[in-house]
Symmetry: C2
Subunit: 258 residues, 2 copies
């Protein structure tokens, strides 16, 4: 907050698109504590990761509904870049992304547009939180988590985060009275095992369609996957520095012919 | 290599698309040391990051040119997933991505399809290297770096890498005799400052087009940005675990109302 008399300015983004239930719940909640701008993709951009639009036009549409809501034809990261550069009156005090319909724990963060929209805001110096709910259903009851989300958001507006650090929050698919609490954890590990379906349009033309299942690998206590299995809301602080420090010294001993 | 009598199996990918000069140089070089499959986007997908195609058809086209070359209508990460699941005869011994026409050091790795294609292969357990050259020009002389690239590739085929660790290699835009050597470094830090151009189609419709410039922030010795400024080829080992460990203990002391 730049001024104690002013409400905090909050940017709300997502990857599921402006019509998703998750962003409506999140933006309505944020209006209770701040001045809210919503800048979201005009269609579902799940799996967009940190992609940006370099080689084509990006359209912004002000919905003119009195709620500061805009759609963007680009990716979730484009939404954040344009919000900060062209739409918001100043740098926001908080960026919240989601609520995503589906898990973004462990390796899923790599693919997630929800997480990467928040990461882009953190690069710009905006304290940022990505929220995901572990059900893929649009009819999941998200309203029950409103106070948890608002308390965490107000906490981060007050205490801020280091530049480039984003909070990745995953909420179990359970009634709130079955949730055991909140844990600050490490990213777990897993991978997707794809099962591509080959579908024929005609004798000459066919295409692939992705399906698959997730296999977890690292899920000991202290990881987001453990939290999910044990009915905790998980908060993982994530960084934009991907260096694997433990490999540096090993690699330095390899011979590099030049 | 699964068998000493067999040539290593090498997957070549990129984000600039099958027609780029960088992937032609890289695949030709790899054919000197292995059995090569090329699976690349059918058009330029720069800036695709780790995006995957979840909600539409993905087309694969075998160029049938005797060189095991395929195009894919999807993202660089789709290329790797389909190569490993549907095209290659077995898990490759190495995945090389690039050579990208333009830098992928520091924060640029977040946006890079070149880097993320290699990262996806590393998640699948394939030792992987992303190569980028610091000139955006398609006419840059990349052939002079062939031996450096082959030596590093053979080194990694022999010594492998931990699962989930990828090498991000950036090559200065200089004649090879002006390059001071190879350094194993950390990811530097910086950010893009966008300058969106607003262009009008008519009185009612306009769009944004991204332009901007890069500002580096962390470029002390030991970082890829220092290497670039000091005429070194830079190798940064990168991980798929984004946890910012130094924030975990601080965050644990915050009060989370529930």
């Amino acid at each position: 907050m730049t001024n104690n008399n002013k409400k905090p300015l909050i940017l709300v983004v997502n990857d599921d698109g402006i019509e998703s239930k998750g962003i409506k719940m999140l933006s309505n909640a944020m209006r209770e504590i701040g001045e809210v701008y919503v800048v979201a993709p005009d269609s579902n951009r799940s799996g967009a990761s940190h992609a940006i639009t370099l080689d084509k036009e990006i359209y912004i549409n002000n919905l003119n509904n009195g709620l500061n809501e805009y759609t963007c034809s680009g990716t979730p990261v484009d939404c954040v870049k344009l919000a900060i550069n062209k739409i918001l009156p100043r740098l926001p005090d908080l960026c919240v992304s989601g609520i995503n319909h589906g898990a973004n724990h462990s390796i899923n963060i790599l693919y997630s547009g929800t997480a990467h929209a928040a990461i882009e805001a953190s690069i710009k110096g905006v304290p940022s939180i990505a929220f995901s709910h572990l059900s893929y259903s649009q009819s999941a009851d998200l309203d029950q988590f409103k106070n948890v989300i608002l308390n965490l958001s107000m906490n981060i507006i007050k205490n801020k985060l280091p530049i480039g650090v984003t909070l990745n929050v995953n909420i179990p698919d359970l009634p709130i009275n079955k949730i055991n609490g909140i844990r600050v954890s490490q990213q777990g590990d897993g991978k997707w095992v794809e099962d591509y379906k080959l579908k024929s349009i005609n004798k000459l033309l066919s295409y692939y369609w992705i399906t698959g299942h997730f296999e977890d690998k690292k899920h000991e206590e202290g990881c987001d996957l453990w939290d999910a299995k044990n009915n905790y809301i998980s908060i993982v602080p994530i960084s934009t520095n991907f260096t694997n420090n433990s490999s540096i010294n090993i690699l330095k001993y390899l011979q590099y012919d030049f």
